[in-house]
């Protein structure tokens, strides 16, 4: 499947990019994070992140679909 990934804050710094498009066999955010964390050397444990698909928070075992926009969200620090 084809995914669009957005990166923010420290994940964007580490990946060296704000977004990318990936071909992947991952069918859940859990599998996809394992793949990109290994690729880009993300240091965050998955437990410390949240994940959003197409602009809404989802669980780590959410079923991904082709062309989904997937975002792994580091701990926030607004306010």
């Amino acid at each position: 499947m084809n995914f669009r990934l957005l990166y923010f804050a420290s994940l964007a710094d580490r990946a060296g990019r704000a977004e990318e498009t990936r071909e992947s066999a991952a069918d859940t955010p859990r599998a996809l994070y394992a793949e990109v964390a290994s690729l880009h050397g993300f240091a965050f444990d998955r437990e410390r992140l949240r994940v959003a698909v197409n602009g809404a928070f989802v669980g780590w075992d959410h079923a991904l679909a082709d062309r989904d926009e997937v975002v792994f969200l580091p701990p926030v620090s607004g306010g």
């Binding site: 923010f8 710094d13 580490r14 959003a52 969200l73 926030v76 620090s77 306010g79």
Partner: protein, 146 residues
């Protein structure tokens, strides 16, 4: 109704707060977050806020709607800056009107706590010594190298 919004230009609170006017409201509580010149013992020069805009808007709106449902308030609004801010700049504003002050204070405090906890916005502090870094929710530095 959009009760939460992001702004990439300086916040004009005079305009925002008119949305809270209500003849039955006897109490107005507000909170503002200003850019401080220090954090965790380091001198701060400026900071940048980055947001996942689409999700920040919907999550922020969900928080404000929840506040209006949970507390006896008349109206509640929040605006959060994104982009580059200097010391003293207004980073976030929360305003709440209610018939009585208990509800106004409680809702205002709850909203800023939830916004800081849930809305996908990230703060990058630039220090006087030239370093910079993304922060955790408790304002301690993110260390992604360990």
């Amino acid at each position: 109704m959009m009760r939460f919004r992001l702004s990439d230009t300086p916040l004009d609170i005079g305009t925002e707060r008119r949305a809270l006017d209500h003849a039955a409201a006897g109490a107005y509580a507000s909170f503002e977050g200003w850019v401080r010149d220090h954090n965790e013992g380091r001198a701060v020069q400026r900071l940048d806020y980055q947001a996942y805009a689409a999700l920040a808007a919907s999550e922020g709106d969900a928080i404000l709607d929840e506040a209006v449902a949970r507390f006896a308030v008349r109206e509640a609004r929040c605006v959060h800056r994104v982009g580059s801010l200097a010391i003293g700049d207004l980073a976030v504003w929360v305003g709440v009107s209610a018939d009585h002050r208990d509800a106004a204070f409680s809702a205002c405090r709850w909203i800023i706590d939830e916004v800081k906890r849930r809305v996908p916005i990230w703060k990058n502090e630039h220090y006087l010594d030239g370093e910079s870094g993304w922060l955790h929710p408790d304002n301690t530095p993110v260390d992604t190298t360990t």
